[in-house]
């Protein structure tokens, strides 16, 4: 089972698709989840997820807006998609009956 931050990272990377790399994933997490994401947490989590086979990373070419430095590109593997889906399903199941989840379901109707 994924951890909360691992789920956020995989989901952000999946949403960014071909443009998923360190800085972009970080900005996505900070803007959507509304929490600070340190570079340390980001890259150590990316490494851990890659070791588990849930992500694949590679180095892109250097770009001028980054001072001629390369990006670490990220792609979610099929195992990563499955793990994120399992986490999401578990959150939905466990949230049934919780007042905030019921309110949300009501408001969306």
């Amino acid at each position: 089972m994924l951890g909360e931050f691992e789920y956020l990272l995989i989901t952000a990377a999946a949403g960014l698709g071909e443009n998923a790399y360190g800085a972009a994933i970080r900005e996505e997490i900070e803007s959507t989840a509304g929490r600070k994401c340190s570079i340390g947490a980001l890259y150590t989590t990316i490494d851990r997820l890659e070791t588990k086979g849930l992500l694949k990373t590679w180095m892109s070419d250097a770009t001028p807006e980054r001072g001629g430095r390369a990006k670490r590109m990220v792609r979610v593997t099929s195992e990563g998609v499955r793990a994120a889906k399992d986490f999401y399903d578990a959150v939905i199941r466990v949230s049934r009956g919780a007042s905030w989840a019921a309110d949300r379901a009501g408001s969306s109707l």
């Binding site: 360190g22 340190s38 570079i39 340390g40 150590t44 807006e65 980054r66 990006k71």
Partner: protein, 240 residues
């Protein structure tokens, strides 16, 4: 980011591996972080990386199993070698027919060889077992040296006699970082030579513990070289 702030971040980034350093500095430049947050981010990543390394047994072995106790024992042995040398010099006489060496020459030669071999193998294992924590191992090895240098009180000897082991040890660390493993034949010769050189001390009670504490790195190198050769042979056999 100001150039002064940027230079602090660049210095902190030296703690990261080159590939990661490039990626992180690129990310910081792209997102236009403040120098302070960039500095904390880089430092945070470096600390996390170091902490992750310590989840393995290797840095513990290199630092606390070898660097710290090894430097203490080798300092003691360096003093012993210096005293043997001093006795030999005082008993050596010049006469009309030439130089007559004192009786301790063979012992001194054995001890010098042993000091070099123990220091080199210890350094090699420190460098090869845990490359990325070698700075911590170096600090743990220097701390007892500084302590002993400050408290050294032997009138007849220079305090720098404590550090005789340093040069071969640094050479060993350097080689360990470069090649990680030595050939099985070289490792066996080295370990056998060290064991033979310790034979004169076997009769002394209480010397077996420091002997083995300093000799195990040589036998560790034998085991590592043997494993590496067995893996290579296995691959060659499967390919053939």
């Amino acid at each position: 980011m100001t150039s002064a702030g940027w230079s602090f971040v660049a210095v902190a980034a030296q703690l990261l591996e080159s590939r990661e350093r490039e990626v992180v500095l690129g990310d910081l430049m792209e997102t236009r972080e403040s120098a302070w947050r960039g500095f904390l981010d880089v430092l945070g990543l470096a600390v996390r990386r170091q902490l992750l390394l310590w989840k393995s047994w290797r840095p513990w072995l290199a630092s606390f199993g070898l660097a710290f106790p090894g430097s203490l024992l080798l300092m003691g042995f360096s003093i012993s070698v210096s005293q043997t040398y001093q006795k030999l010099v005082s008993s050596t006489v010049f006469n009309a027919t030439g130089l007559t060496l004192g009786p301790g020459f063979t012992l001194l030669l054995c001890n010098v060889l042993l000091l070099v071999a123990w220091s080199w193998t210890g350094g090699f294992v420190i460098g090869s077992v845990s490359r990325r924590t070698v700075r911590v191992s170096a600090v743990l090895s220097f701390v007892p040296c500084v302590f002993c240098l400050a408290r050294f009180r032997v009138e007849s000897l220079s305090r720098f006699c404590l550090l005789l082991f340093m040069l071969p040890a640094i050479w060993g660390v350097h080689r360990g970082l470069q090649i990680a493993r030595i050939k099985l034949s070289s490792a066996l010769i080295l370990a056998a030579a060290i064991t033979v050189l310790t034979i004169p001390t076997w009769s002394r009670s209480g010397s077996w513990l420091p002997n083995w504490a300093l000799s195990w790195p040589a036998w560790y190198l034998v085991v590592m070289a043997w494993r590496s050769q067995a893996i290579k042979d296995g691959k060659r056999w499967r390919a053939g």
